[in-house]
């Protein structure tokens, strides 16, 4: 079968699976598949859009229902439009349809398709994706990350569920751009910054503009270019690190990891985020060795070789691990 056909078929399979609900394993497989190739993403977006559009057909449901098997589905008169979907769909989809119905009503019902609830975008380990948003903003996703995006004429919202994202937000004072990172919220008008989430710890790094970070207990701080804000255990901390250092932290956008005098254990942790083959450091003293430099994030083997040659360490490869010792 031709390559293009295989992609269309795969995308169609995923639409069918989403239609019945994905298991966790399937969700991960889907995220991986999406992140592999832009062709996968556009094929998915197209078929998903067609299936969603077809939901309008529910307006045709007749007053009497289809004859049912033993434990039959619904009986009863037809109800208006999208309300049908509520009885069948999963809880998330129910909320989404409810929101969509409200938003369509609020906006006069002339839009044939509005995406109200967040569409997920995810990357696999080692993956990176650039996503243009409807308002002209741009979102870049780093390794092993997941966001949901909802940009519409009323609001601009993102949920960062996992990982790290860089935002280049188009200025629009009438629609503040809000990123929900678990409890904390990040609000901007138009700026460039990154947000990193590891479980419940959040780090915001600003390279341009002003970013308001609000913790769960309502404490807020406004970060300026060069500022790094961390939220840990509901505490906000602001550190002025300088724009250049923060841009180094965002080296991943160009596929690089940049370190200034970092410990080997920190460097290894960063490599391990981006690679499925993991560095393991067995000796606590070795873990404290200081490393500086710029490395290709996917070249963990090259880095290991460098540790051997330049730092005189021992490297042993075993399965998915690269073990570093004295």
């Amino acid at each position: 079968m031709k390559h293009a056909e295989i992609i269309e078929d795969a995308a169609a399979d995923w639409v069918a699976r989403h239609d019945r609900g994905l298991s966790d394993v399937e969700q991960r497989a889907f995220d991986d598949w999406l992140g592999l190739d832009t062709r996968h993403r556009i094929a998915w977006l197209r078929l998903d859009a067609a299936w969603t559009r077809a939901d309008r057909l529910n307006a045709l449901a007749p007053a009497s229902t289809v004859a049912a098997p033993r434990n039959g589905p619904r009986r009863g008169p037809r109800r208006a439009g999208g309300m049908h979907a509520l009885r069948r769909a999963s809880p998330v989809a129910q909320a989404a349809v409810g929101l969509a119905a409200c938003a369509v009503l609020a906006l006069g019902g002339h839009f044939s398709f509005i995406q109200i609830w967040g569409a997920p975008i995810a990357t696999e380990v080692g993956g990176r994706v650039i996503e243009p948003l409807a308002d002209g903003s741009r979102l870049e996703l780093n390794t092993d990350s997941r966001v949901r995006v909802s940009v519409n004429p009323l609001r601009r919202q993102v949920w960062l569920d996992r990982g790290e994202a860089y935002f280049d937000v188009a200025t629009d004072a009438s629609r503040p751009f809000v990123i929900n990172v678990g409890g904390p919220k990040v609000t901007v008008i138009g700026t460039r910054f990154s947000v990193l989430r590891v479980a419940e710890d959040v780090t915001v790094r600003v390279t341009e503009g002003a970013v308001e970070v609000r913790s769960e207990n309502g404490e807020t701080v406004v970060a300026k270019p060069g500022d790094e804000v961390t939220v840990a255990a509901r505490t906000l901390t602001l550190t002025a690190r300088g724009v250049e250092r923060l841009q180094d932290e965002m080296g991943w956008r160009a596929g690089r990891l940049i370190f200034h005098d970092a410990t080997l254990s920190d460097v290894a942790a960063q490599f391990n985020r981006h690679n499925s083959r993991k560095l393991r450091i067995t000796d606590p003293e070795v873990a404290q060795v200081r490393i500086g430099g710029a490395f290709a994030s996917s070249n963990v083997d090259g880095f290991a070789s460098l540790l051997e040659s330049a730092y005189d360490l021992r490297i042993r490869r075993s399965g998915d691990e690269i073990i570093v010792s004295r």
Binding site: K2, A4, V15, R39, N58, V66, F113
Partner: protein, 186 residues
């Protein structure tokens, strides 16, 4: 999102252009995917284009030129012909936005054109709002088959919904006449 709202509605115009300009050996699905992928990535790198229509068209034209140039024997006439074409000529009049009712009518039309089992699955899922399990029970088929038919149905839905013109309501005869002129075979 931008891609769904601003690019997909251009598909019928894109298909018209590609079917006229592509070579015999070209695969229209492959070309469409490649155009979309390039458009998507370019928007990600450089920001959203001001004029989606012109951008999609230019990307398609440049893709055809790229491919033609990589052939062993380059057809200079073919390339020159592509290079002289402009957006205004080839993507036709602006399609208007359909009203909710027109869109429903269109979907109904497309539903009628699905193969029987496919059509029944889509009907039960989308009109009767049965779950996939209930659909399988009702039709006496496995849930796997329901998924497969749904997948098949959504592909055909997309082909017609995005790939064909959203003109005024067409009668069957009218539709047949228009279809026969467009591509070698659907």
């Amino acid at each position: 999102m931008w891609f769904v709202r601003s690019v997909l509605p251009l598909e019928s115009g894109l298909n018209r252009f590609l079917s006229r300009k592509m070579r015999r050996d070209d695969d229209s699905t492959d070309l469409r995917q490649e155009v979309y992928a390039r458009v998507y990535e370019a928007a990600g790198r450089n920001g959203l284009p001001l004029n989606a229509r012109a951008f999609v068209f230019t990307t398609a034209r440049n893709l055809l030129i790229d491919r033609a140039r990589r052939e062993r024997i380059v057809s200079m006439e073919y390339v020159a012909d592509l290079e002289t074409v402009t957006p205004v000529d080839d993507l036709g009049a602006t399609e208007r936005q359909l009203s909710a009712r027109e869109e429903l009518r269109r979907l109904q039309d497309i539903l009628e054109r699905l193969p029987p089992r496919c059509r029944e699955v889509v009907r039960l899922r989308r009109i009767e709002q049965l779950s996939q399990r209930e659909t399988a029970q009702h039709m006496g088929i496995t849930e796997d088959t329901v998924e497969r038919q749904l997948g098949k149905g959504v592909r055909i839905l997309a082909e017609h919904f995005f790939g064909e013109e959203a003109g005024p309501e067409m009668t069957s005869a009218h539709r047949l006449r228009r279809n026969s002129g467009r591509r070698g075979e659907v």
